[in-house]
Symmetry: C2
Subunit: 110 residues, 2 copies
DNA sequence: TTATTATACCTAGCCATACTAGGTATGTCA
DNA sequence: TGACATACCTAGTATGGCTAGGTATAATAA
């Protein structure tokens, strides 16, 4: 990760959910998509991703199925309706948070 | 805090440094300033702030002195030159991070 | 006067979260 | 065949904010 890992806290889940909302993907693929889409800012580690995926599935925000992709069986994840509702809330929270940070930072037109 | 506390991770330090860069303040005052400036989004706890202040002082990013404010002795914190340099870097990191998150979230003009 | 509340500072221990570092297995390519 | 990328997994670690408690002073209400 190009930025301090602390920033990831709280966002990792939302980012994963968001990517799965656009397109069902398997774990390893998510890491590459995230890296590419963020212009190499996010380099999520497997030790971060897989526990998140397992927790999301356990909470029924995503579901998984073994599918053959490019001649190989992969565990493909798909967002659920519940996951979409949670994602919408988390996106709103992110917006509120980032606006607040920028308000603090840009006081006085700095 | 109105938003999930996880988002604070990595930002709390920068926000404190940023406020002290504008104006020397004592701890309790920082909490109120932060709350006000963020329209009640940030409600930083004392158990969060004081350890941050002590760490920042230990790292020589801020310095403190006991001053009488409104007829009472308070521990007033002041940013150092080193603190200003670190703040500039952290602001840049925040910008990079938030841009990256928004890039991931708004793919396809969503 | 006394009780309550707000101010002001502090810290030990808790908990959530991302990471490190290791493991296993398969496919590709030199 | 050996090296590397792909693909998944997890135990343990480190970080960082919070909970919940403490102390002390000043202002305000009963």
């Amino acid at each position: 990760m190009a930025v301090d890992k602390g920033y990831m806290s709280g966002s990792a889940r939302m980012l994963v959910l968001n990517l799965l909302n656009e397109k069902s993907q398997y774990g390893y693929e998510l890491i590459k998509t995230l890296k590419q889409r963020s212009n190499d800012v996010f380099d999520m580690k497997e030790g971060t991703l897989y526990p998140i995926l397992h927790k999301l599935e356990n909470d029924e925000l995503i579901s998984s199925s073994n599918q053959e992709v490019s001649g190989r069986v992969r565990k493909v994840y798909c967002i659920t309706d519940k996951g979409q509702r949670v994602l919408a809330r988390e996106r709103e929270e992110w917006r509120e948070f980032s606006v607040a940070v920028n308000q603090v930072l840009t006081f006085g037109g700095i």
